[in-house]
């Protein structure tokens, strides 16, 4: 035993950067495993230790493995004191949902609770409704902290035009790495005392690295049917923006989805049929009434979220998650069916954020209360994740990227 120890001591004599204690060298793959346990901010501090630790923690493959083990919730956090009367500052918080630790916070300047976050391919778009703050829309690269202001909105063309609700969101074109922002506004036009409301669609391209917006807003082709403006009715997955139609789904009973290709900037025809129309099954049954339909990007997959309540029992809610398996064959599969009855809140909205490595689904509950919950499909059990209780966040989403390396995405 002594001789074995002696051998190890001898081995550590040369000044290998990974030499450990008196018992030899910690192999790089073990060191990697150790570092994967630490949060992103700690890893960034550890880059000061030596060159090899820095290159290991900056590696895109390491960053990807890290972000799948440490999913981050991102949301807007109201600063405790108003910057000036009636206007509070907001920070962007990146929170580890399990420890509750704020891993990173970025001050974005003035923002209100009308601001919305959208995230795609490692970038964040912070935008406000056109009516309130049209010139402060920006895209953040969380790994570097670089902020790109979106092009200015042209002032109202004439007095008869005004804008209602609007939305901005971000998508990445996988083939070129370009980031594009789509803006949809509700335009009110007064003509001969009659007010007409139309949606107008614009698109802007950020630079190849997503760090400078070189061009202004361009007019985007109009879709055949107007799409929903709300953030729950769209998702961007692998360079395609998917939209629900702006028609009442009840009683239309259509779950058609429009696709906009961010690369070619064209709408795809015909519309992608949702799971019910494409599989020719009925959305409802004797027991369940279809309540609402949302879209989400869950772990890089387009997911249709169907909310139901039991007939005549409005608090007995359930949710089905349909994953798009093959867009060309319009093939969907129902991977999760969640019973919300035990956690239901009368005016709550339940939004799945991410599927964890162990199969559980993280669900953000907002409206009335704000809660983060985990659902385990094997046991149908709900777990409260209490970490966000003291950290009131708005416009919460999962961060599709890594704070360690700006080239990493979870899509």
């Amino acid at each position: 035993m002594d001789s074995a120890l002696q051998e190890n001591v001898d081995q550590s004599e040369h000044n290998d950067p990974l030499a450990v204690g008196n018992d030899g060298v910690l192999p790089t793959d073990v060191l990697r495993d150790v570092l994967l346990h630490l949060p992103a901010d700690e890893l960034c501090r550890l880059r000061l230790v030596c060159r090899s630790w820095r290159s290991l923690t900056s590696d895109p493959i390491f960053a990807k493995a890290h972000s799948s083990r440490h999913p981050l919730i991102v949301g807007l956090h109201m600063q405790p004191r108003p910057i000036r009367r009636g206007s509070r500052g907001f920070d962007v918080h990146f929170v580890d949902p399990f420890s509750g630790d704020i891993v990173k916070q970025v001050t974005t300047g003035r923002a209100w609770d009308v601001h919305k976050l959208s995230t795609n391919h490692g970038r964040l778009c912070i935008s406000a409704d056109e009516r309130y703050d049209p010139e402060k829309n920006r895209v953040l690269n969380p790994a570097t902290g670089a902020i790109t202001m979106l092009p200015d909105t042209s002032k109202h063309e004439n007095e008869s035009t005004s804008y209602g609700s609007s939305t901005c969101f971000l998508g990445c074109v996988p083939s070129t790495g370009e980031y594009k922002v789509i803006r949809i506004r509700r335009r009110h036009e007064r003509r001969n005392l009659v007010e007409e409301v139309e949606l107008d669609y614009h698109i802007a391209t950020l630079g190849g690295d997503g760090n400078n917006s070189d061009a202004g807003w361009r007019v985007m082709p109009c879709p055949p049917v107007d799409v929903t403006v709300g953030s729950l009715g769209r998702a961007v997955v692998k360079g395609v923006a998917y939209f629900l139609l702006d028609i009442p789904h009840w009683p239309a009973k259509s779950d058609d989805i429009l696709e906009f290709d961010l690369d070619t900037e064209e709408w795809r025809y015909p519309a992608l049929r949702g799971p019910f129309t494409s599989h020719n099954i009925s959305a409802e049954d004797e027991d369940r009434v279809w309540e609402s339909f949302h879209l989400a990007n869950l772990n890089g997959c387009l997911v249709g979220i169907y909310n139901y309540h039991r007939r005549c029992r409005y608090t007995d809610c359930s949710m089905d998650l349909w994953f798009l398996v093959d867009a060309y064959k319009e093939l969907w599969t129902k991977r999760y069916s969640l019973q919300l009855a035990s956690i239901a809140h009368p005016c709550g909205v339940y939004f799945p954020l991410v599927i964890l490595d162990d199969g559980r689904v993280l669900i953000w509950v907002h409206g009335g209360v704000q809660k983060l919950k985990a659902y385990d499909p094997r046991t149908s059990a709900w777990t409260n994740i209490p970490s966000l209780v003291d950290n009131l966040l708005f416009s919460v989403c999962i961060y599709h990227g890594s704070l360690l390396c700006s080239d990493t995405t979870m899509d």
Binding site: M1, S3, A4, L5, N8, S12, N15, P17, L18, A19, V20, G21, N22, D23, G24, L26, P27, D29, V30, D33, V34, L35, L36, H37, L38, D41, E42, C44, R45, L46, R47, L48, V49, C50, R51, W53, R54, S68, R69, H70, P71, F98, S99, K104, Q105, V106, G145, L356, D357, D358, A374, T379, A381, T383, N384, I385, P386
Partner: protein
């Protein structure tokens, strides 16, 4: 019942082992022999599972030249403890726990198991776990080492992990500025 059984237990275990061979004998780099349940070894170590399946287990002690006797003793100890704690493990995973990150936090006994180890013993064990493909033990030991890194300054880390600073002052300042957000607390 335990009292009655106690005396003959060792003898009985050996007999059963010889007959059904439900244990395997492992030999450390310094020639010490350790016996471990075949079932636990196969379940917890991908390398031992492969050796058992491939028939490359030596009844007189399978040579593990890369692992010292102290580390191997800890490996065997871990396997035995793990085998005994299965019911509680199942209980814990199904109960409601707030602290359940995507990779499972160490359980109480696992935490105690690694906490009692000296610095050197811990690093020997993590390498042994890595060598034997023991995913769970590797996770638990890596977690322990990561805890040792938390909140330490670069100088402290270099001291504990015996690492040479290969940066220039200017480079360190550059990294500090680039990652200013991570150094808020300093």
């Amino acid at each position: 019942m335990e009292v009655d059984k106690g005396k003959g237990e060792a003898e009985e275990t050996r007999k059963v082992a010889e007959a059904d061979r439900d244990t395997v004998t492992l030999k450390s780099s310094d020639g010490k022999l350790f016996e471990v349940s075949k079932e636990a070894a196969a379940r917890l170590s991908t390398v031992l599972a492969g050796m058992i399946a491939g028939g490359s287990i030596d009844d007189n002690g399978t040579d593990l030249k890369q692992i010292g006797s102290e580390a191997l003793e800890n490996v065997v100890d871990y396997c035995n403890k793990h085998a005994n704690s299965i019911p509680s493990a199942a209980l814990i995973s199904s109960s409601i726990s707030f602290n359940t990150a995507p990779f499972k936090e160490p359980e109480e006994w696992e935490r105690k198991f690694v906490d009692r180890l000296s610095h050197d013993a811990l690093f020997d064990l993590v390498e042994a776990a890595n060598f034997l493909g023991m995913e769970r033990l590797l996770d638990v030991t890596c977690h322990k080492i990561s805890e040792m890194m938390k909140g330490k300054s670069p100088d402290q880390i270099r001291e504990v992990f015996n690492i040479k600073n290969d940066y220039t002052k200017e480079e360190l300042e550059e990294i500090r500025q680039e990652l200013a957000w991570a150094f808020y607390d300093d």
